[in-house]
Structures are given as C-alpha cells and as structure tokens.
Amino acid sequence: MFSCRQIYDLITEYDEGGLSTSERRQFESHVIVCPPCRGFVSQIRATRRRLGKDSTPEFTAELEDSIVNAFRAWKEQRR
C-alpha cells in the first residue's frame, strides 16, 4: 500500500489516468483507510471542480497592455 506522501505525490497522475491498475488499487486502498488522505483528495477535487466552473477571461490587447503597464509600474517602484 502507498504511503501518505505517495498519495500527495500521485493525486494528479491518479486523476489523469496515469497510474497502472495495480497503482490505482494501492492508491484507492490507502485513501479508503486514511482519513487525512481522504480529506486531501476531497479538497483537491473540490478545488478542481470550482476552477472548472470559472470562465477564462478573453486575453485582449487592452488586457495585455494593462498587465504590462501594471508590471512596469511595479518594477519602477522597486528601483
């Protein structure tokens, strides 16, 4: 069975289908019996679902200009 550290490291690969059948089984077996890892997986997935709902703003020329100007102003202040 995987350790808690391995669960943290492998959550993305698990969700993206990157683990072998045996690894998936080990991942799930650990998460079922480990409350902190179960909570961690739940939180990661809740965050992912929330991010998935947010729409990506259109990256217009005006938006690019405002970001570049804001960066230049910030850089100027640091001198």
Partner: protein, 236 residues
C-alpha cells in the same frame, strides 16, 4: 447477482465522482452500464460481497444488482452493469462507532494477553479499568513507555489505536478536529481502525511467528466483515 456497494453521501462514488441514480417510488435506480474491457479500478461497476465489506467502507451502504459480464478482482467484483436496489440504513454513525469499538476491544485483548504473558497482572487490571476513562490514552502511553521492545508490543500499538479512535494521529499530540471542521466522520474512523487493528494483529503474529502476517491480516479483515454483515443482517 446481488452485491454491495459503499458510496459517499448522496449515492456519490468517491473515486468515480459519479452520482448514482437512486431507487424511487419503490423501484430500483436506473441501470448504469459501461462499455469496453472490464478493468479493476479503471472501468466497470465495482461492488463487493459480504466478505469484502470492510475494504470499501464509506458513508452509505447500498445493495446493488449486477448484470452482464463480471470479473472477480482483488477485494471485489467488477461488472458490466449495475443498479442500486436499496440503501442499508443500518450502516450509520452508531453502527460505525460500534464497529470501531469492536476493533479496539480486539486490540485491547491482544495487549491484555501480552501483559498476562509478562506477568503484569496489576497493569492488566488497570488497563481494563481505563477503557471507559477519558485519560485512557495517556495511561496507555505511560504503560507503553515501560516496555523495552516498544515497537512490537501490543501495548505500544494500543497507544496508537486509542489516539486514532479519537480521531487523532499517532505522530501528533494535537487534538482531533470535530467532524464539522474537517475531522474524520465515524465511517472514516471505522475504515481507518478496521485496517489498523487488523495490521496490529498481523504485526503481533508476525513478531511471534515470522511469515504469518498476511494470513493473520486476511483473517482479521474477514472477521470484521462477518461482524458487520451480522450486525446489518445482510443476506448475501
């Protein structure tokens, strides 16, 4: 084939993130089907038998009817189709706590046996008396420290088990969070303590007779599933 399936609250598959259609108006939930090769943990309707219940503990227990092709896998069965028949309401917080209590009692029995073997009858009587006390964990920890072979003695394991029973962690002195603030729910503690107590029994057996870990662990898990099936009056 009738089997069992544990799901999160609202008939939600924790790993699949699938919201199962539930029974309504006295009729089973709708059929859920998969296509392609059945693969454990990857593709198929996953369920378990009475003997495998404790490997899958979650918030809700459902009876599920399986249909089509099916393959037996480690710890369960994977089928082409399934539908929820009914929820076993008996699997609730109270039942989960009773399950935890039974698991902990078995670990206490192991610890008691160890104390008896080492001629510590006074400690044994105190151990039995401590169970109901809020400071039992502290008392057991103090007792564990008096053992030289701390890492392999049942008393040392019991120290960890009592901490886990209260939702804490063996490696931390921090108090457990309540459920409403992210602490483990009774079903999660049941899943945790079931595994840990079987592991403890297997470790103790392995220490006494090398090579017996796997069979002891398997026997303990079967015993836990049998306890649960009897408690819930499942008829497999």
């Amino acid at each position: 084939m009738i089997a069992y399936k544990f799901l999160s609250a609202g008939a939600f598959g924790f790993f699949s993130e699938y919201a199962w259609p539930t029974p309504a108006a006295g009729r089973p939930g709708g059929w859920v089907r998969v296509s392609g090769e059945l693969r454990h943990c990857e593709n198929g309707i996953h369920a378990c038998t009475e003997e495998q219940l404790v490997d899958w503990l979650d918030e809700e227990l459902w009876e599920i009817e399986l249909d089509g092709a099916a393959v037996e896998v480690e710890g369960g069965v994977v089928a082409e189709a399934g539908r929820l028949i009914r929820r076993h309401e008996g699997w609730d917080d109270e039942c989960a706590r009773a399950f935890v209590d039974d698991c902990v009692e078995k670990t206490i029995a192991l610890a008691a046996e160890s104390l008896l073997e080492t001629g510590r009858k006074q400690d044994l009587e105190e151990l039995r008396a401590w169970r109901a006390r809020p400071d039992a964990e502290r008392k057991v920890r103090a007792l564990a420290l008096t053992f030289e072979e701390e890492s392999s003695d049942p008393i040392a394991f019991l120290d960890d088990v009592l901490r886990l029973e209260r939702g804490g962690r063996p490696e931390s002195e921090a108090m457990a969070l309540p459920v409403e603030r992210g602490g483990p729910a009774p079903f999660a503690l049941a899943a945790n303590l079931g595994f840990v107590c079987a592991h403890v029994a297997a470790q103790v057996a392995e220490h006494a007779t090398p090579g017996t870990y796997a069979e002891t662990y398997e026997r303990e898990r079967l015993s836990q599933s049998a306890w649960l099936a009897e408690k819930l009056r499942l008829q497999g």
